[in-house]
């Protein structure tokens, strides 16, 4: 009797499992009229998604901007608009994976397994052209006429053209600027943001006295905040031109920058070692720290304290090597697409790319999503004024920048980037000296 009962229960569970699986499949296939956003890390197979039952060309888009962020919401609204405008002809299905480092690895795995998403974005790295060299990406060069090309920043198209093929469309390219908490600065007796790095050190001491950790930094994942700081210091020592030309990072200026970074690593939170972006960002948003170097997307997370926040020009060493107010920009995050067999689908992808990089879309993404794009932005005085306390500050500081460099980590090889978190931790914990830090990073970069 027990055996029969056990068998019955097992069968019941099996039926339940199968039912759940089949209903899940149904839900994914029942695409509503608007863009379908799946937050699970689902793989969309470009080969199996040509046309829907209504005859519309189905395009599977994979990106990392979740709709609970301002930029994700702005992008989502544009995709919805595109789907409505092209109802019955083209339909964009969206899958979101908000964990950007994991997302990037997933995209690589998808390319490797011939399940490249129809459209996706990624961090462009001239030292990691594995995606471009895979031969699985669509070439936009025949569609890139003068009119479309004129939409983008100078040199962006050239940068993304690899071996004569334009496999990416310029999209996001934002400056990582210094945000500081004016109220905490005032409490510490600092009246204005320091113009020199020595002034920053003095400010850090004063902030420490009132029990505030001066900098939000982290070492896990891509250690981006810490690398932004390193990039600013390195540019202050070496000048933007030297760093922008690439080459070896084992230079006296980089060693000096590592030494200065080591000093500043004493002015961060106790959880910086091992923390990731969200921990460090929340430390700033919850006023545990007084400074952070982040992109415009941070603005959306500072709603409650936005009136306390200022955006500062970068300090220098006052020696004229860099122009005051220079900026560090993050890597280009362009769009790319899977190579298509169907010309109609290829044209549909191009149509969407033109739509998303149009003047109107660029304006909407910047004003609603606080996203800065490679595509040119034209704002009236009034639009700038109405863009919000922080966004208008950001635009002002960013546009006043006389020169800029790309974050140093974006020009490192994948192997060097993988070694960077543990090397930064070693530097912070004095396991390696600044000289050893640069030497080991340089060795990984070769």
């Amino acid at each position: 009797m027990k055996k029969v009962f056990a068998l019955f229960i097992s069968m019941l569970m099996m039926v339940g499992l199968l039912t759940a699986c089949s209903s899940g499949t149904k839900e994914e296939k029942n695409t509503p009229a608007e863009n379908t956003e799946t937050t699970e890390d689902a793989v969309s197979d470009s080969a199996t998604s040509d046309t829907s039952s209504e005859g519309a060309i189905e395009i599977n888009m994979y990106h990392s901007w979740s709709t609970d962020s301002t930029r994700g919401a702005a992008l989502d609204s544009l995709i919805t608009k595109f789907n409505k405008e092209n109802e019955g002809k083209i339909h964009i299905n969206v899958t979101v994976n908000p964990d950007f480092p994991a997302y990037q690895e997933k995209v690589k795995a998808m390319i490797a397994t011939d399940t490249t998403p129809d459209i996706f974005h990624y961090n462009f790295n001239p030292n990691d052209l594995s995606r471009q060299n895979s031969g699985k990406l669509m070439d936009f060069s025949s569609y890139m006429d003068d009119e479309w090309a004129s939409r983008f920043g100078e040199g962006d198209i050239e940068t993304l053209t690899i071996n004569g093929e334009l496999t990416s469309i310029p999209f996001e390219k934002a400056g990582a600027l210094i945000y500081y908490n004016k109220e905490l600065f005032e409490k510490a007796g600092i009246t204005e943001f320091p113009a020199t790095w020595d002034g920053v050190l003095e400010a850090c001491e004063k902030l420490k006295v009132i029990g505030v950790a001066p900098f939000s930094l982290y070492t896990a994942d891509d250690a981006w905040y810490t690398c932004n700081l390193l990039s600013y210091i390195a540019a202050s020592y070496a000048g933007t031109e030297t760093l922008n030309t690439g080459g070896s990072i084992d230079t006296p200026e980089m060693v000096k920058a590592a030494k200065f970074l080591r000093k500043l690593l004493d002015y961060t939170t106790g959880d910086a070692i091992g923390a990731n972006y969200s921990v460090a960002m929340n430390n700033f948003a919850s006023e545990k720290t007084a400074m952070v170097i982040d992109g415009p997307w941070l603005i959306g997370s500072l709603g409650e304290i936005e009136n306390k926040i200022g955006i500062a020009s970068a300090p220098t060493f006052g020696d004229g090597i860099v122009k005051p107010g220079f900026t560090v920009t993050d890597a280009q995050t362009p769009w790319a697409a899977a190579k298509q067999d169907d010309p109609a689908k290829e044209e549909a992808i191009v149509k969407f790319m033109k739509f998303i990089t149009s003047d109107e879309s660029t304006k909407q993404l910047t004003l609603e999503g606080s996203v800065f794009l490679s595509a040119k932005l034209t704002l009236s005085e009034e639009e700038l004024k109405n863009s919000g306390v922080l966004l208008s500050q950001y635009i002002t500081v960013n546009s006043a920048s006389a020169e800029s460099i790309v974050n140093v980590q974006r020009n490192l090889t994948t192997a060097a980037n993988a070694a960077l978190p543990s090397l930064l931790e070693s530097l912070a914990l004095d396991v390696v000296t600044p000289e050893e830090f640069i030497k080991q990073l340089s060795a990984e970069n070769e």
């Binding site: 594995s130 959880d271 192997a415 070694a419 914990l429």
Partner: protein
């Protein structure tokens, strides 16, 4: 039974082993001889990946940390399991409830446990540091998971403490020991500790061998605790072989190097398992002769 019948019964197991174990293992060995970023073409580099791996300080650290995990299993986790099993075998009041309580963590996912302990040890919001501050011992608060001195042992604590499965295996073995042996020992005047040392422990040797095998295997493939609690840091202080393999493949895109490290881990695992099984067999023979 005819040979043909044997073959029919064995065929599914052999096919599954070939497809899901032998073939991937051979493929692992094959890829370890190539330089490959996972996307482009593979370039044959002979044993260069193995040389790179063996010369890599991070691999050496990962190897050492994996050995420390195995030692913690042998000298902390398993002895704790033995002590608890011996205590519960005496059936004190509430022993059934305690047995369940000790076993419960084994049915919770390692991920959940790792996160739980991450927040216990967290430098700011962690239970330990906040309790220390609350009782006036704030000066003892410490970045447990971020410090070079305490990160490794802190990430091992959940594994060392959660001995439910190990304990149950020991309890099962203890239940097979005839009561008459204990009665005879009592007549001879043996007290509780002597009973444990001269009767229980010698007869628990097969279970000890089993637990050594199971826990060594766990330590070799352990991934969640270092990945979720410390991310392998600080400064690779808690990186183990599984995490090293993952990092080389996923973060550094060095598939060949990752596979070479995998091959070394498989060989290391095989050697340890074989040694343990030999010791187990030898002791088993001695016990029951």
């Amino acid at each position: 039974m005819k040979k043909r019948q044997y073959s029919i019964y064995l065929a599914p197991a052999i096919i599954l082993t070939l497809v899901f174990y032998i073939f991937p293992l051979l493929y692992l060995c094959y890829v370890s001889l190539f330089q490959w970023d996972g996307l482009g073409p593979m370039k044959f580099v002979s044993t260069q990946n193995f040389q790179k791996v063996l010369a890599d300080r991070v691999f050496q650290s990962a190897f050492k940390n994996t050995l420390i995990w195995i030692l913690s299993a042998l000298f902390l986790h398993i002895p704790l399991g033995i002590v608890l099993a011996l205590m519960l075998s005496r059936k004190p009041k509430g022993w059934k409830l305690m047995r369940i309580m000790y076993f419960v963590p084994n049915v919770i996912s390692t991920t959940a446990i790792a996160f739980l302990w991450y927040f216990i040890f967290h430098v700011d919001v962690g239970l330990i540091n906040n309790v220390l501050k609350a009782v006036g011992l704030g000066n003892l608060a410490h970045p447990w998971l971020n410090s070079l001195d305490t990160a490794l042992i802190s990430s091992q604590i959940p594994f060392i403490l959660y001995v439910g499965l190990t304990m149950v295996i020991f309890l099962t073995q203890l239940s097979t020991i005839p009561e008459s042996l204990y009665e005879a020992a009592e007549v001879d005047g043996a007290n509780g500790l002597k009973r444990d040392f001269y009767i229980s422990l010698p007869l628990m040797k097969p279970a000890i061998a089993t637990n050594i095998l199971l826990n060594t295997a766990f330590c070799l493939r352990n991934f969640e605790y270092p990945f979720l609690m410390t991310g392998g840091g600080p400064a690779n202080k808690t990186t183990n072989l599984s995490l090293y393999i993952y990092r080389q493949m996923i973060n550094a895109n060095k598939y060949g190097v990752s596979m070479a490290a995998g091959v070394i881990t498989v060989i290391m695992g095989f050697c340890i398992m074989y040694s343990v099984s030999l010791i187990g067999k030898e002791r088993k023979g001695k016990t029951y002769d």
